[in-house]
Amino acid sequence: MKGGKDARKGLFISPIENGTVIDHITAGEALNVLRIIGITGTTQESISVATNVESGKIGLKDIVKIKNRELRKEEVDRIALIAPRASINIIRNYKVWVKKGVEIPAEVIGIVRCPNPGCISNTNEPIQSCFLVQAKGLRCVYCDWLISKDITSHIM
């Protein structure tokens, strides 16, 4: 079994038996993280959210715990766009089974909608949106549109 730390000790919100803990989320972004991974008021998961928790590492942070759901790689990539320092802990039987950081990918495929209404990616063509991750933001590979701020509001 990977990881050995007893997750029941010293945590701000109650531990989960199985599921995912997303730690070190940029303070204030927890609800956006939930939106990115598709958890809304209508989904069934049990969720705990802590915001503006003291963290030695990044000052204040948010934490999200999702019961009985293990995040997949592409979901983790989505989170990286708004919480680049987040860490993902997959929990099994109260133990950290896998711990991984998030990595901002070189390309963001099928996650962000191009804000340009004239872009071919906003039609019924059989393609997914595709953005190159650049220093100044996300650039649409189809129409060159640059999303330089408020990436969250463009996430599908």
């Binding site: 004239g118 872009c119 063509e125 649409c140 590979v141 060159d144 640059l146 330089s148």
Partner: protein
């Protein structure tokens, strides 16, 4: 397989190669059978006269043939077929595709589905690389492209030719002077990208401020539909009109260009002045498009 989708995909060396080849084609005998047996598909989902005709002419001069859709209304698009499917089907009929489409990024999408090379002939407000190449070609007939001072006049917000040209000129160390009506300025993202890349971009309120310092004046159409009413359009359009009086005292080698069609931006009296090069510019579409076709089809 080579596609020509955006001027951004070409580096300076590749642009020079196309321009050199176009110059050879224009000034030396060439093989009129170079594309014999090849068929070019002209897929125009938007109206175009000169771009479509000049590609058809270019392939014919090289011994190839072209086929085209009759109209969008007659195409499968009205039945709801995706562009991706149209491209896959037409790929089986032709050796290369020239595409004009109202959606930005359409040519990039086409290149992902095509089994043959795709040349972008304009995608919405996006890219139109053959226009940029022939603009550069026309300037180069009069002066080297390095370090020139270029005025971009007119609708710089929606004018795709101005965007592509600005980007291409930045590869040659040009200084760009922009003169546009309020609300039709060069998009700030593009301006800052050019500046970050080391290009000097200077905004002016009035073309008179700068016209005497220019090597090239690139005029674009101000579209009436960008204005709420006719009177505000005419008021703005008249203040951006190029006249013989405006050009009094300019540099003797000044080149005035316009991607055409023009409406009122250039006084017809300017046509007779030595600066007027827009009809040569249009004719240069043939050798430049021949060079592009040879690049992707030969």
């Amino acid at each position: 397989m080579r596609h020509i989708i955006s001027i951004r995909d070409l580096n300076r060396g590749e642009i020079d190669e196309v321009l050199d080849q176009a110059q050879d084609l224009q000034t030396h005998p060439y093989n009129p059978q170079a594309l014999k047996g090849k068929i070019l598909g002209l897929l125009f989902f938007e109206p175009s006269t000169r771009t479509r005709m000049s590609f058809a002419s270019a392939v014919a001069r090289l011994g190839g043939q072209s086929i085209s859709m009759d109209s969008v209304e007659a195409s499968s698009m009205v039945k709801g077929e995706t562009l991706a499917d149209t491209i896959r089907v037409v790929s089986g009929y032709v050796d290369a595709i020239v595409l004009r489409h109202p959606k930005e990024g359409a040519a990039r999408l086409a290149s992902e589905f095509a089994q043959v090379p795709v040349i972008n002939a304009g995608d919405g407000a996006g890219q139109h690389p053959s226009q940029t190449l022939l603009d550069l070609f026309t300037i180069r007939q009069s002066m080297p492209l390095e370090g020139i001072s270029v005025g971009l006049l007119g609708d710089l917000r929606y004018g795709r030719t101005a965007h592509s040209l600005a980007h291409a000129l930045s590869l040659y160390g040009a200084t760009l002077h922009t003169i546009s009506p309020k609300g039709l300025e060069l998009p700030s993202g593009l301006a800052s990208e050019l500046r970050d890349g080391g290009t000097e971009v200077i905004e002016h309120d009035d073309v008179l401020e700068v016209v005497k310092d220019l090597d090239v004046l690139y005029v674009t159409r101000i579209q009436r539909e960008r204005f709420p009413d006719s009177s505000s359009y005419f008021k703005v359009a008249s203040s951006y009109r190029v006249t013989p009086e405006l050009l009094a005292g300019v540099r003797t080698h000044l080149v005035v260009l316009h991607p055409l069609p023009r409406v009122n931006e250039i006084d017809p009296r300017v046509d007779r002045l030595p600066y007027a090069r827009y009809f040569e510019q249009s004719a240069n579409g043939i050798p430049v498009r021949m060079a592009m076709l040879l690049r992707v089809m030969e």
